[in-house]
Amino acid sequence: MNEIVSLTLHELGQRLRARELSAEEAARAYLARIAETEGKVHAYLSVLEKEALEAARAADRRLKAGENGSPLLGVPVAVKDLLCMEGTRTTCGSRILGGFTAPYDATAVALLKKAGAVILGKLNMDEFAMGSSTERSAFGPTRNPWNLEATPGGSSGGSAAAVAARSAAATLGSDTGGSIRQPAACCGVVGMKPTYGRVSRYGLIAFASSLDQIGPFARTVRDCAIVLAAVSGHDPRDSTSADEPVPGYAEDLDAGVKGMRIGIPREYFVEGTDPEVEAAVRAAIRVMEGLGARAEEVSLPHTEYALPVYYILAPAEASSNLARYDGVRYGLREEGESEYGPLFGMYAASREAGFGEEVKRRIMLGTYALSSGYYDAYYTKAQRVRTLVSRDFQAAFRKADVILSATAPTAAFRLGERMADPLSMYLSDILTIPCNLAGLPGISVPCGLTSARLPIGLQIVGRPFGEREVLRAAAAFEGATAHHRALPPL
């Protein structure tokens, strides 16, 4: 591994601004690293060599002119392949968009470009972000850089694996039920889902619109804060985007946690939690106490209902969002015959050929839950229980400033292990889903390795728009431990 790709994003940015290194050299170092690792990891669905080198040369011109205000200027990054980037293939991990070229930039992508970041490529994912292992990609799985027989988690497995493999300095992913935090935990990197509405979803291919949120992956909490600050903010093009000021997320990371109240939900040491994961989380709590935080048990009594709520709401919203893939305006079209005529036949044949099994399963589940006679029993019921899950957090945050737990009950599982049983796959997200239902910010930071040398993630959740507290707590933990420095054997 060359020296440039081993620098953190923050260090690389400093070198670029000091002009000890050019953006083009940095981009070439990362492109070489991609060539070296992709055969094993398959984190990328497309590598944009030409565009990246052009962007790097443009960043060099800005650096040469003395510009030094942006911490991302000239820094090589990559984005999950559900973010539209003008002129590039944007597949969402699906055959139905296999030939789709995005006609415009997602706001998050436009903000990265404006900050001078160099976008290296588009990252692999479970089809339409439905999955927890990246095995549901129509273009083949991504492998975990820590163990090539293990999954990287998902759905943003490519985004997590690229950071772990040092084939991007930082990446963007999306999190609907844990799709940033769970793969970050599996790959031993930092990943953050911000408060719902913090980052514009304009140009993000929709899965479940009341839950989807874009967020960063990086090697350190500081790097994560830098990327989050760059992509956050109100966007008139996304009516669900929050009109809240963006604080300097990287500014008070070192303020410490003295006196911070840390809630430990008693319901989060769920059945099926790996004892090694539990031990790592208990050790992390002691580290935080050693830094002056006060740990206190809290209760989130509706935790066990969060997963069933999610598996009504997310598929219902998905079945509606994915109705747009009809073979008419863009995406795959297949001709077909049907007893309802050739137009119906075309819709059905296009969707049958374009969607993979998990996507069809969720469309079926969502359509059923929304269908006549079942709407109140399923969808409205789930929305009511969603309120109870949110109220649990509101009560807990009267006693605690942040909430700490494992990110996932186990470390990364083997490729193929959970493919046959959809429910076992869904259970990977049992500790991350509640946070999406309540719209809260959450981060996963590395907190140790299992005896099989697979990473374990610590989840820290905050109040709405409490990203600063979450980042500060995560930075304090990271500063007191060396877990984030462990490198995969790649």
């Binding site: 006609p103 509405g197 669900t240 359509t367």
Partner: protein, 94 residues
């Protein structure tokens, strides 16, 4: 909760999915299992709990009624079949 083969076929038509025979069988079993799991919500009395449709309390986001440029310049380039400014689909009327 049991879900029948007829239910699966009905829902697949609503969703405009043309499932293979193998998928119909598989989904009949799996959707039943998932719906069983989901029925756990019936343990809770939620009569007095309002539904949450959105995590943030944002209502009525307005903008000025002004025409702006479409971000999509080349619809024709994206369409599977395009004819004189229209998306072309299979014939639906005789």
């Amino acid at each position: 909760m049991a879900i029948s083969r007829q239910d699966v076929l009905h829902v697949s038509r609503l969703a405009r999915l043309e499932l293979s025979e193998a998928e119909v069988e598989k989904f009949t079993a799996q959707l039943g299992g998932i719906l069983d799991y989901i029925s756990k919500l019936n343990e809770l009395d939620t009569r007095d709990v309002p539904p949450t449709s959105h995590a943030l309390e944002i209502t009525n986001v307005f903008r000025k009624d002004e025409v702006t440029d479409s971000p999509i310049g080349n619809m024709e380039g994206m369409a599977p079949s395009f004819f004189k400014g229209h998306f072309r689909v299979p014939k639906v009327i005789e």
